[in-house]
Symmetry: C2
Subunit: 640 residues, 2 copies
Amino acid sequence: MDENQNSARQRLHALSEFLEREELDAVIIVHDDEYLSEELSPECERLRFLTGFTGSAGAFTFARSFDPARRKNETGNPKAGQEILKDAAVFVDGRYTLQVKAQIDGSCMQSFCYTDLTPSCWLCSVLPRGAKVGIDLNCISYDGYLKFKNHLAKSGISLVETRINAADAIWTDRPSPVHTKVRIFPDEYNGCPSPQKRRNLARELRERGLDATVICDPESICWLLNIRGRDRHCLPVVCCRMVAYSNEALEWYISDDHFDDNIQKALETHVGHIDIFPEDRFDEALKRLCASSASVYTDPQTVNAHVMKTLYEGGARVTEGLGLCLLPKAVKNHVELKGEYKAHIKDGVAMCRFLSWLDELTCPLKAQSDPEGYVRRVRDTDEKILADRAESFRKVEADYIEPSFDTISALGSDASMVHYSYLNSPNPKHLGDSPLYMIDSGAHYLDGTTDITRTVLVGPGFTDEMRLMCTLVLKCHISFATLLFPKGTSGGQLDAIARRPLWDAGCDYAHGTGHGVGHLLSVHEGPQAVSLHRSSVPLEPGMIISDEPGYYKDGCYGIRTENLLVVQECQRPGMRHMLCFSPLTLVPIDTRTIDPKRLTAGEREWLNNYHQNVCSVIKNASGTLTDSEVSWLIKATEPI
Amino acid sequence: MDENQNSARQRLHALSEFLEREELDAVIIVHDDEYLSEELSPECERLRFLTGFTGSAGAFTFARSFDPARRKNETGNPKAGQEILKDAAVFVDGRYTLQVKAQIDGSCMQSFCYTDLTPSCWLCSVLPRGAKVGIDLNCISYDGYLKFKNHLAKSGISLVETRINAADAIWTDRPSPVHTKVRIFPDEYNGCPSPQKRRNLARELRERGLDATVICDPESICWLLNIRGRDRHCLPVVCCRMVAYSNEALEWYISDDHFDDNIQKALETHVGHIDIFPEDRFDEALKRLCASSASVYTDPQTVNAHVMKTLYEGGARVTEGLGLCLLPKAVKNHVELKGEYKAHIKDGVAMCRFLSWLDELTCPLKAQSDPEGYVRRVRDTDEKILADRAESFRKVEADYIEPSFDTISALGSDASMVHYSYLNSPNPKHLGDSPLYMIDSGAHYLDGTTDITRTVLVGPGFTDEMRLMCTLVLKCHISFATLLFPKGTSGGQLDAIARRPLWDAGCDYAHGTGHGVGHLLSVHEGPQAVSLHRSSVPLEPGMIISDEPGYYKDGCYGIRTENLLVVQECQRPGMRHMLCFSPLTLVPIDTRTIDPKRLTAGEREWLNNYHQNVCSVIKNASGTLTDSEVSWLIKATEPI
């Protein structure tokens, strides 16, 4: 603790010296990296380095010229508890308000929730007119930068681009970026050869009257070139940038060490000719586009403010919009879908074996009669052991690559934190003191990516309230899974339909109902989503979306039931203009937690049909299930 | 017909001369007026004057230097049927594609649906590089103007502001604007004296660090000053503009002839001191704001491009956002709500008397056995007579002012046109040849504004399909009316919930589920709405919203069931964090068109409770119902 405090103070001191050298009064450092992604590689964990906070979004401010006399917000008194007392602050959203307090050194920095105080309000409150605030434009969106800049300007404060990210400047033992080798993602898995994707993209550019598009998200580039890598934790990409031209030419900006001798040749066959440049020469490409007044398409969600500003101020004719690879990437072709089905069968086998193992260990229905025997059996098993065990069953499946995200393995009250990770918990819970266990996990297989959440009974103490809430969450899940909706409907329009059974009971969940899923790419993939944000894109046949309503009782328990669904055309006669969902995920939902009397006949029918399908597919697909695992499966999928 | 053709050609000829004088190659004229409102006064019906088209949205383009050789869109072939053959075109949305064809002179102009061809694509297709297109910036939003400008610029075409609207320049017998007298709207009806509203507005400006706001929508100004007028058809306002300052000063820009000797004094008492200027001096106010670099708040939805451009280019510091009067105007106070309840009782009495009269005339259940007697009885009654009759029952109610919109009175296939008006129909239908009659109507009373739709049985020929669709529309209506939802939820998030029963049958309706309603102001009032557009504003207690799902079978029939609802806090124990709806409208829903077997127990209970309430309130409220009207009411509200 003392050491952590020392180091936090030392870092602030170093930051203060950096600002003095750069003649800045303050600095803003945001969570995102140069690719504006949430999932960071270690060398980009700047917020964690500066503050110890490990959440997936946030911002940090530090004012060298902190003036205690200016502590109050100029435009009024700050809300109770929002008084600014330190020269450093971390800003997080509602998901992380508890976590941030536990992780930062409160003796030298404060934390705020965005809805109470924004970083720019903080800066306006502590800085005098004429002050200069530094920011790294590589790590923020152009819109975000303009918003900061305009807000600060109102208080006479200027926002200036720093030569280098302030955190990097003082980060003496900063890890080197991981550059893994480019791997060919064979056409038998991707279903559309790269030359074809490239022709489609160039045609789209021509049809829109555009000369080029700047692509700065590695996922789009890996999709376009049908390659993969391992640069990112749980995200099988290589980090790189690209300019794609309307004449089908591609300029690829990527660090040399992503290649070995063989790959370049294989690439030429796989992709066709590409011009490859070191990534640090990307700015030259931007300058060329500017010099020729090219008409350039960019996606401000993935192209950072430095790039956007360079293009805008350099004289390129910029059109902003959804990245041109995003929709074709989101709509899976038949080969990709066939792979996803195969991956979900393997994942279903693994999860069934895990849940069968867990049931044998916990025997929750018998635990009541022999509480001591139960505790003896389970007490050594903590959330990490459970997560590892689940992964161990996946690891033996064919073409397993890695988890698709850090497993959320949560017992009791830990599950009430929507983004809980036992990795960041000082005391992961053990089996034995909570009736419910939630596991949200997934994997990348060569043929597809999975993501599933189940909440299962693991011990005594299951209450009527828990049964009610498990049932309502299932009703929400079914309400969404059984939807028929017209073409042109976006996920955002459908979000409330999943919530209604919980709303009727006065409850809700503070996250979206579902997200898109990539094909051996990000497990959180746009542009479609079922939530209030980022979700005006119509759902289209071939898109994958998660259906994951939940209920979280603070400090008590959490419930979530998640399947992945594929969007399909409705096959009923006369209904081809409507879309519907078909589940990919093949794992039983724990019927012991459900009150059948609260389900409608239609809901019971859905659940029983789903289970019948799970049972027959998993039983037939796998030679690896033991007899006892098969018995478990049959019992777990019995009709209710 | 010949005369109409002649005059259309003559107008295009005059337009061509105007363009020649102004050295322009083409012109865009949009439907909106200087206040960007859809509901136009006669002198602003420019699209109708130029083309004969009477819809509530659209645009017109005319190219003097029309070049037949450039007919094809530069960036590709136009879609089938979208070839440009004339030098004039009208652009409409999906609601009006049939109507526009029937109304314009096809020998000299074409019509297009926006989704097939936009006005700017049309202009780019027919004009050479270097061409100049004129536009009246007073009649378009700033965003709309920038979009046009940028699109045209890509084809080397410039968009320039005309001194005068091109339509006005050639409109020799253009009506004078109607300027009615300002009327005090007494505090006993508005529930919040104007000086209080003005203080609140000034405080809001100060809290946001703003110097002033420019208000260009007459509804906000009339609300703020607690006045009304009769300048607009069905919209009881006076046309005017305003600058409101953070020190509570108000500058009101309004034509002199809105006042008589008495009103100025009464205003001073009612509102406090205001500086009144002629409306044509509004530009001077803008220049003053620019000269002082004032920080000015504007709502780009209601402030036209001329004003926005003047502010932006003149050096004012502009903040754009939702007009500052909109939310307080939308959230009705207790006095306003009490008035709305009273107005809806009167409106309920009137509609019950109308429906009782209609039932006695048509006796639809007996019509089958005596078809000739039926036809003899009803054949002289057309859609206009029905609408007038409904209004006649309203006119006798206390404090009736005027209809709140043009009544949609539609028999049979006419009802399948969502925005049908018998006023624009050459042959309004008569009773006798369709089983269903839809009436969507409402009124302004001094105490409130109403809007109700009922679809009722008026003759033989009612099919099983119609019964199914009437039942599904009712299920949709109930699905929305019974919603419980958390605070912070917007109408846009709830729209799909109303649609689900129709979606399940593969059907939908091509309009929003509901709109806000003003208090003796516009019957279509924002900022809340239950639709995909314009509806990210959270619903708040006190807001009024319509619930009007429908089903429209082209050329056959149309069904809609509409009540107005008030947003309320849920009163159940422990549920105060949730919101719900309470119906304002008090008129029976025709149970003869409903299949009770298709309703759930909960839906039947809702309908029976609603009818019980309608019956008891209307019976008790009115001394004017005859015995036979009371008998009708009792029968119409019998439980099913």
